[in-house]
């Protein structure tokens, strides 16, 4: 099903990935033998049952969970073997927006500082002044008041926090963004703006996405290709129009039938 069209070099290539939590009797096999690829500038959607292993897969991409087996290739590198500087460089190139925006912000750090901190570590911007400007830029890009950057996470609404996390992930100009339900807390009009921003970035910066979502309409409008996961496995994968308009697998059909209509 893959690779008849992969003449363009792939950015990310995942082969036979397995993620297992816990040991022996209590082991949870969260991701089972998953393979897919993402090309530069491509938006790859991932949909599926709640608890089927999407976030686990996403976290494996940024090396937050160690796969039990399988290979993750990024550009030329084997991600599992990265260490030290190479790993740090990889973490600059691959960013993640977590499913839990509030939890992923340090409660005792102003959100602006959370961003300048990251910029400092990766030596982006010559001085603090420049980094602050970058924060302002990013805040404007996601539709937040730049002055608000100097507030603590608890002073924002759910949707605002979600946009802060998107801003932080974009701060380092990554090549791949693992976005775990990045727009689930946004009203449709702000959501449209953010999606517009993401689409723009893929064109101007060749930014590629692993876009995890439950909102099939958003996936339909945004993604190029999509994979449907069920119980840890990818059960269907292909161009988004094909999968959504002509679903092959039973689960995909059930899913599409359950979309609330309006």
């Amino acid at each position: 099903m893959i690779s008849n069209e992969s003449k363009v070099k792939t950015l990310l290539k995942v082969d036979g990935l397995n993620v297992i939590y816990g040991h022996k009797k209590e082991a949870v096999h969260a991701v089972k033998d998953v393979s897919f690829y993402i090309k530069p500038g491509e938006i790859f959607g991932l949909v599926g049952e709640s608890g089927c292993g999407k976030s686990s897969l996403g976290k494996a991409m940024v090396r937050l969970v160690d796969p039990a087996s399988g290979r993750i290739g990024f550009k030329e590198a084997n991600v599992a073997q990265l260490k030290g500087r190479a790993l740090q460089e990889y973490r600059r190139e691959v960013q993640m927006v977590f499913q839990d925006p509030y939890g992923s912000l340090n409660p005792r750090m102003k959100v602006g500082h959370a961003i300048t901190d990251v910029l400092t570590v990766h030596r982006i911007g010559k001085n603090m002044e420049e980094r602050r400007e970058r924060v302002t830029e990013l805040f404007e890009a996601v539709g937040l008041e730049p002055d608000w950057a100097w507030r603590y996470p608890h002073e924002f609404s759910g949707g605002q926090r979600q946009r802060i996390c998107i801003a932080r992930a974009l701060a380092l100009n990554p090549d791949l963004l693992v976005a775990d339900e990045p727009v689930s807390a946004l009203d449709v009009s702000v959501q449209a703006e953010i999606l517009h921003l993401l689409k723009e970035l893929r064109i101007t910066r060749q930014l590629a996405f692993l876009f995890i979502s439950h909102d099939l309409a958003v996936v339909r409008n945004l993604c190029d290709r999509v994979a449907v996961m069920y119980n840890g496995e990818i059960v269907e994968m292909g161009d988004v129009s094909k999968v959504i308009d002509h679903p092959q697998h039973e689960y995909t059909r059930t899913l599409l039938a359950a979309v609330p209509s309006f």
């Binding site: 499913q99 009203d187 703006e193 339909r220």
Partner: protein, 277 residues
């Protein structure tokens, strides 16, 4: 559908943060009602004060919040004038919440089974808690084995369903659901919505539903309030608001709803949604 004796009546609620230059009028004079057995949707802009006003119903808004003006009548009591003790008795037994961010709302050091048990135990004496936990997990389609799992061992959607189970554990009169299904796939979401509809039908559960998903609004809600910048800009029956929006902002929202099967000559593009700002 308007109720002459609503279970919840909020009038002219004002909630501010900070002062001077930093003054944020998070909730700026809103009024709304929820009738018995009615499902009311609160929709609107991100940051428009939906969560804060819903938390304010039992004075749960963050410490920094100042209740500047307004009245909240629930079951005939004025909530803002109640003591902490009286409020505690109402929270969780008559009004229960599904919080917006499930992954940050559960206690990381206890198993979810234990937390559900707490929710049952606090308000219902003399039920068999073990079987009740199993029943609740089943109701939200979670496997029993998860009762012994800690929050960090669960997926976003599983945590959200735990929150829902906890909120339902105490059979409330009013359920405040702040984006209760954002982390759920549409099949589970459907089951949960059906359950809520059933409860509202059978036991007269009133629901205040905050959501960005107009599919849910159209499926579940009887009436809708649209919020923007701390104010309610439009209200009406679901059908009226969704299909004959009056206010500019509501129209803009409706135009921005993503469609699964875009109609070919779509009057909406992301570009013109932006211009509408």
């Amino acid at each position: 559908m308007m109720d002459s004796n609503p279970i919840l009546k909020v009038s002219n609620l004002n909630i501010h943060f900070g002062s001077g230059d930093d003054l944020v009028k998070a909730v700026d004079g809103i009024s709304f009602t929820v009738g018995r057995g009615e499902t009311v949707a609160l929709v609107g802009e991100s940051g428009s004060g939906k969560s804060i006003s819903s938390l304010a119903l039992t004075k749960l808004a963050p410490r920094a919040a100042k209740y500047v003006a307004g009245e909240i009548h629930f079951n005939g009591q004025e909530m803002l004038s109640l003591s902490d003790r009286e409020l505690r008795q109402i929270r969780g037994s008559q009004i229960s919440y599904i919080f917006q961010e499930p992954m940050s709302s559960l206690n990381p050091v206890f198993t979810v089974g234990w937390q559900i048990k707490e929710a049952i135990g606090l308000h219902q004496k003399g039920v068999d808690r073990k079987s009740e936990i199993i029943r609740l997990l089943d109701v939200v389609h979670l496997p029993q084995r998860l009762a012994t799992a800690y929050p960090h061992e669960m997926s976003g959607g599983q945590l959200q369903r735990c929150m829902i189970a906890m909120a339902l554990a105490c059979s409330p009169d009013l359920l405040v659901a702040d984006e209760p299904t954002t982390a759920l796939d549409v099949t589970v979401q459907r089951e949960i919505l059906n359950l809520l509809a059933e409860l509202s039908e059978k036991v007269d559960l009133s629901i205040l539903m905050i959501t960005h998903n107009f599919g849910i609004v159209s499926d579940l809600a009887d009436r809708v309030y649209v919020m923007q910048k701390g104010r309610i800009v439009e209200e009406g029956t679901t059908h009226k608001v969704l299909y004959e929006p009056q206010h500019e902002y509501t129209k803009q929202l409706m135009a921005a709803v993503p469609r699964l099967h875009p109609k070919p000559p779509a009057s909406f593009t992301i570009e013109n949604a932006k211009e509408g700002e």
